[in-house]
């Protein structure tokens, strides 16, 4: 009957025990309200596997030590419950690595709140990305720090793709490292960058600078190309209709897909 089903449901909810030795009282002691604490348990239950959330206490502690308040801690755990699975020692290594890269307290706190996934990425992966940015792309230490702070998702991107994006913007668009870092290039996917740039280029509004960095026309700034929504981009920069841009993007997707083999083979290495 309906009644017995409801009864069963109620029983199963209240008898649900999170897979953690973290009692409600400790959460309240940390400053969570009752409802927040309920939601913390919810984030834990999102993880599959028996002892998945076994590092919950140390993770929560580490996040509070960073200076985050309960509500931001809750929000970031909802985004990234995998943090419960990270050993305390690893977490500390990763945090200290980020500090070494120049991300000190205020910016570290904001970075973690905004992109908690940064703490589930192994130190080695981040070191490789930093090495790539420093040695292959010749970004300065300061620029690398800015890139990590503004576009942290870069650490999980495929480095071949990253290299292609960097070379595209450096060589085809003639944009230097300082500008890329300043205007948050790495927040955008290669396709977003290429679509907008190619559209402008084919309209005659963007030129690859020559060896001395010169162009016949004045190129629009990277900032006004990327850091605006599509309507603004079309109205102010490309001076084109949404219909044209829509068809253009579909044509480009097909063009690139048909010449993909080269890029595919790079990925296969």
């Amino acid at each position: 009957t309906l009644q017995s089903m409801q009864h069963n449901h109620k029983v199963s909810t209240s008898s649900r025990k999170p897979d953690t030795e973290l009692p409600l009282q400790s959460l309240l002691d940390m400053g969570f309200t009752d409802t927040q604490a309920e939601r913390v348990y919810d984030t834990m239950s999102k993880l599959k596997g028996g002892s998945a959330a076994k590092h919950a206490l140390s993770t929560l502690t580490a996040l509070f030590v960073l200076g985050l308040n309960p509500s931001s801690v809750l929000k970031l755990l909802e985004k990234c419950p995998e943090l419960y699975t990270v050993q305390d020692s690893q977490l500390q290594q990763r945090l200290s690595n980020l500090r070494k890269l120049g991300l000190v307290e205020g910016s570290l706190q904001r970075l973690v709140a905004h992109y908690p996934q940064i703490l589930i990425v192994p130190v080695k992966t981040i070191k490789n990305v930093v090495l790539f940015l420093r040695e292959k792309c010749l970004f300065t230490v300061q620029q690398v720090k800015d890139i990590l702070r503004e576009s942290p998702a870069i650490v999980v991107e495929n480095t071949d793709q990253l290299e292609y994006k960097f070379q595209y913007v450096y060589f085809r668009m003639g944009v230097k490292q300082a500008t890329m870092a300043k205007y948050k290039l790495f927040r955008f996917t290669l396709d977003e960058v290429r679509h907008r740039h190619c559209f402008l280029e084919r309209r005659g509004l963007y030129q690859t600078p020559d060896k001395r960095g010169q162009t016949v026309i004045i190129n629009p700034k990277l900032d006004t190309i990327l850091n605006v929504d599509q309507d603004t981009f079309l109205a102010d920069v490309a001076k084109a209709s949404a219909e044209e841009y829509d068809v253009f993007k579909r044509l480009m997707a097909r063009e690139w897909q048909e010449q993909e083999p080269q890029l595919g083979s790079i990925e296969a290495d």
Binding site: R202, R203, K211, A240, E244, V247, E255
Partner: protein
């Protein structure tokens, strides 16, 4: 390495683009960026339906989402402004302009069907298949190329000259009318004439390609008037030009390559001579259609203006420009037309309707 190398070379396509940027931004103003991006992006095709084939019925093509743009006119017309009449297969249009004056109705060649995918749709056509007699179901070409043939208005029993015909797309469209009495097909290039023969064999039944109905030659078209003048009811003069779309996309066989500068500079003169030869070949009362696939004013309007002047001056031939104004209105669903051309009409490329460029101007021989 790779990057620097592409920067150092100046391929013909970039020479073409530089040339067009310099001339067309002035000539076309604000329209140029939209046309430029369209020229540099994948063009659209039209499928010229082959009335002689038993393969691929219209229904099959229409099932894929395309439609005959020629019969698909005026559905969005404002009734107060335009009245579209359709009589059997012959489409005519009466358009009253703002003053309330009637423009003379424009007769279009009948039986021609050309299928296109709708505006903004980038679907490609599959290659046509042969029927049991080996005839192909449709010919893929720039749909805007059909307009000069439509505008030529071939009527029953007409003798027609196609002066620069290879590879034969417009010849095929002319034959679709099934009303030509006698057709002369010419192209000065022997190899291209061979290609034209192959095209005709793949689309037209043998019994329509007999000597009484069709004559194919490889003469210099500028000399045509000396051989045979005052003869044809209709003359199509589809001249060689800077083929703008080809020139900005293909480095092979590019008229902007350094070695072909002379040839390119002589184009307007050659075009003028071809048009004059076509005018001479037409009979009094006959009609001549001049067309190109360039946006260039010097190869379009200027050539026509000079031809009108020289025909009178050197040959005493008076000509009247036939108004093609109804065309842009009838086919505005399918093509973008250049606004306010003082002479002729021109389809301009646009990403959502990436056909053309095609320029056309029609003349009637009065004497």
């Amino acid at each position: 390495g790779k990057w620097a190398a592409t920067l150092a070379k100046q391929p013909a396509t970039s020479l073409a683009l530089q040339h067009f940027d310099a001339t067309y931004s002035g000539q076309l103003g604000e329209l140029w960026p939209s046309i430029r991006v369209a020229l540099l992006s994948e063009k659209k095709y039209g499928a010229l339906f082959n009335n002689f084939s038993h393969e691929s019925t219209l229904a099959q093509l229409e099932a894929q989402g395309c439609r005959d743009f020629i019969s698909d006119t005026g559905t969005e017309a404002q009734p107060s402004e335009v009245a579209v009449e359709e009589e059997s297969n012959c489409v005519s249009i009466k358009k009253s302009d703002i003053d309330g004056q009637l423009l003379s109705p424009l007769q279009l060649s009948p039986h021609i069907k050309c299928l296109v995918f709708p505006r903004g749709d980038i679907t490609r056509f599959k290659p046509a298949r042969p029927d049991m007699y080996g005839l192909l179901g449709y010919y893929l070409m720039d749909a805007a190329s059909v307009l000069p043939v439509l505008a030529l208005d071939v009527q029953e029993g007409h003798s027609v000259l196609d002066l620069c015909a290879a590879p034969g797309g417009k010849t095929l469209a002319l034959l679709q009318t099934q009303s030509i009495g006698f057709l002369c097909v010419n192209d000065s290039s022997v190899s291209r004439t061979l290609r034209l023969r192959r095209v005709l064999r793949s689309f037209v039944p043998k019994q329509l390609l007999t000597d009484e109905k069709l004559h194919i030659s490889s003469l210099d078209g500028t000399k045509w008037g000396e051989v045979e003048s005052n003869t044809f009811d209709r003359v199509l003069v589809d001249v060689p030009c800077t083929t703008d779309r080809h020139s900005v996309t293909e480095d092979d066989n590019n008229i902007f390559s350094k070695s072909r500068t002379g040839e390119r500079r002589r184009l307007p003169q050659l075009q003028l001579e071809l048009l004059l030869a076509g005018i001479e070949a037409a009979c009094p009362g006959g009609e001549i259609l001049y067309s190109t696939c360039t946006l260039s004013q010097i190869q379009n309007q200027s050539v026509v203006e000079q031809a009108i002047f020289l025909a009178q001056e050197n040959h005493g031939i008076r000509l009247q420009v036939v108004d093609l104004k109804p065309l842009p209105h009838m086919f505005r669903k399918t093509f973008h037309f250049a606004p306010n051309l003082h002479l002729g009409e021109m389809v301009i490329p646009h990403l959502a309707a990436n056909f053309g460029p095609i320029y056309m101007c029609k003349l009637r021989r009065l004497s």
